[in-house]
Amino acid sequence: MVRFFEWFGELGSFSFQLLRSVFLPPYEGGEFAHQLDELGAKSLPLVALAGAAMGVVLSLETHDSLVRFGAKSLLPALLVVSIIKESGPIITGLIVSGRVAAGVGAELGAMKVTEQIDAMEASAVNPYKYLAGTRIVACILMFPLLTLVADFCGILFGWLTNSLTEHISLRLFIENGFKNVTFNDFLPPTFKTAVFGLIIGMIACFQGMRAHGGTEGVERAATNSVVVASLFIILADVLLVRLIQVFFP
């Protein structure tokens, strides 16, 4: 129990150090651009594949159920709404959390146990700004964009799967799917993934920068980053869904 509260105390202290440094110049533009590529652009294939798989599965599952109830014309709308409101954001969050949290946790953990972070501090460079700030802000910015990719691939492959059993043009599918969709259905769920990005970036950097104990410490940092980030994403999603329902009915 003491360790549990210690962990939160250290996370609070980490957040304070981060906030103190990240908004003040000089800004680490080069490293930030590198992280946009590393954490964002390089996650694109994974997100596209996960989105496509999500579209195929949703299309197959809902098609049979809707046929049973004689409502198969609702499939495009059901698919689109379920992808953009929940499946796309949460799948993106969890899939990218696996890749990014493990990668960042292991990278910073290895830097910590080999004294590279100490060397950075000794060179009068703030590691909270250079290492953590750049990664966290990159995660916040890239997550909504990655979610859009997952949504797009999900809808596209949902249509393709549906087309295998009965022909419907993409245009008609999209028109039917988005007929009753409003900005409130689309924007808040997409932008809530920025919070997922914040959670993943924070947890992974925090776990990495407090790693100790050699190779085992690095392994622990990577594993804990993924487990804790995934858990926090699910908990945050519950809260955010409710808040979106209240503020964007």
């Binding site: 100490d118 950075m120 060179s123 703030n126």
Partner: protein, 262 residues
């Protein structure tokens, strides 16, 4: 106070700062839980001099260096760098002091995703306003000083331990520090490479008049690079002086340490 008196006092303070040893450590204490690592360490290092801190493994030598550069906090005591107290400084003020100190880590601690050239350029990119061409020239000069000018594009994993130490030293010199801290500079190196690193350290000290602390348990290396030696035991400085002075010590531990490692 009159203006004249103020000016006189400021001048006197500045003079005292200039004449004071660049590194002063006073009654430094540090514990990890129940374990006392440093238990009242006192020493000074005069300008341009090198002090080697010797002792068995695990006696807190590396912790001492990390407290001096502010990577760890002391429980009590005082560390003065150029007469400025650094314990309790904010990170912004501490960073200003750190720019005057170079640190060579035990395992070199090179950034493993950056090339040799990028490692040395890293502090310069952040703390100097040099144009890129001038910065590149400076990096090459530094690498040439340590004999590594031919391996600019290599990653740390592609070079040997001795070469990593050289690159670490070039990086430590990047901001032209007037103080250098060495944490086990010859640890894990064969005797010939260790001797080359010692020669390099000595050469730099003579050319640049840098004040240094070398933490080591390698007595031949300490003799080669130091003006004075300090022997640590149980968190305290047991004896300090020149090698010859230590040789005359009657303390059993000092005699045993010098004889065992000679």
């Amino acid at each position: 106070m009159t203006e004249m008196a103020q000016v006189t006092e400021t001048a006197a303070t500045a003079e005292a700062q200039n004449s004071a040893p660049p590194i002063q450590v006073k009654t430094l204490r540090k514990s990890f839980g129940e374990q006392k690592v440093l238990d009242g360490i006192d020493f000074e290092v005069e300008a341009g001099q090198t002090l080697s801190v010797l002792g068995q493994s695990g006696t807190g030598k590396s912790v001492l260096l990390k407290i001096i550069i502010g990577l760890q906090k002391a429980d009590s005591g005082s560390v003065l760098i150029h007469s400025q107290e650094i314990t309790g400084l904010s990170s912004e003020h501490l960073n200003e002091i750190r720019k005057k100190i170079g640190f060579l880590f035990q395992n070199s601690a090179l950034y493993d995703s950056l090339t040799v050239e990028e490692n040395v350029a890293f502090p310069l990119e952040r703390h100097s306003k040099m144009p890129e061409a001038e910065r590149e020239k400076r990096v090459r000069e530094l690498l040439s000083t340590v004999g590594m000018e031919k391996d600019l594009e290599k990653l740390p994993a592609q070079i040997s331990g001795g070469m990593q130490k050289r690159v670490g030293l070039a990086r430590a010199l990047a901001l032209s520090p007037d103080i250098l801290l060495f944490d086990e500079p010859t640890a894990g190196l064969d005797p010939i490479t260790a001797s080359e690193i010692d020669d390099l350290i000595r050469k730099l000290q003579q050319e640049r008049k840098i004040t240094s602390i070398v933490v080591t348990h390698d007595l031949p290396s300490a003799r080669a690079v130091s003006d004075r030696l300090a022997l640590m035991r149980n968190g305290r400085i047991l004896a300090q002086g020149t090698f010859e002075e230590l040789q005359e010590s009657k303390d059993d531990f000092v005699v045993q340490f010098l004889n065992r490692t000679r």
